[in-house]
Amino acid sequence: MASPLKVSVVAADHEVWSGEASMVVAKTVEGEIGILAGHEPLLAILASGEVRVTLAGGTSVRASAEDGFLSVENDTVTIVARQAELV
């Protein structure tokens, strides 16, 4: 199995969640995107909506994000949003 993704979800004034995961699904302005380890570097504008982070064990963490970006680089996924919180 490929090395897991390092994911962090940050809001303007605090870090919402961070940890390792096997998959991230987010909604960008162009549609839903799923990211697995080994994804090419990407910088996308998020549409307001839900971000699903699937952990290695299969459980998932959901967070809502508004006004944000998604950046993928070197198996590090950062979801940056002005407002974000776990659901």
Binding site: E15, E40, P41, A44, F69, S71, V80
Partner: protein, 299 residues
Amino acid sequence: MGAQLRVYRQKIKSAQTTKKITRAMELISASRIQKAQARVAASTPYARAITRAVSAVATYSNVDHVLTTEPEKIERAAIVIFSSDRGLAGAFNSNVLKESEQLAELLRGQGKDVVYFLIGRKANAYFTFRRRAFERVWTGGTDAPEFETAKEIADAVLESFLRDASDGGVDEIHVVYNRFVNMLTQVPEVVRLLPLEVVEGVEEPGEHEILPLYEFEPDVETVLDSLLPVYIESRIFNAMLQSAASKHAATQKAMKSASDNADKLIRDYTRLANNARQSEITQQISEIVGGADALASSR
């Protein structure tokens, strides 16, 4: 009680009262620093993430964007000054103001006009007292900055950046604020926000590494368009938080030395008062002895 003694007692009392106030202020800012520092720390991941993203776009793409390219001729520059609402913080405010004066001089030397955006009552007072013009001012709330205020400031600054120079717009934006290094040190810092000068947070690619080729969604320009205002916001918010933390630290330091000085004053005046009391007693004794002598010899 002799007049001299009374004067000393009054001075002691007044120093004691002052000490109570300064001690209280010291304790208050000591308790607020923790919170302010925690907020700086909490906002750091966001600022770092945004900075990295901006660096990525600026480094790995070569689009011409109004926010990243340097205009040929810079006519006007804006300086955003982060001061505090309250004084009693040692050199906190004078440091920032001094730094901005130097910057303004430098910019004027390069033939640029300078306009000011002020944050905090102290900067406002400084400018009003000297009858100098400024673009806008935000007061209140420098102790516990709100993200909303940062957004408002960023909007105003960006708006004037995007306006044409002929309409009074600016071509360059600088910020001046106190950076919180630790409890003892706060350094005034000047940063040029726009046009972009992103250097921090980018890891220098090693010699054998291949530069990551970024994909942008929907496209580079749209990403830049929406990323840069957010970047400016986060930088301004960060500056506000740093400035707030520095202010509390500076107040604590200033108030601590004020309390120490009050202690010293109280001690000195107590010595003087004791001296005065003693000499009063001595005088009274010698008066009594002198009187008794006179009575005895007149008999």
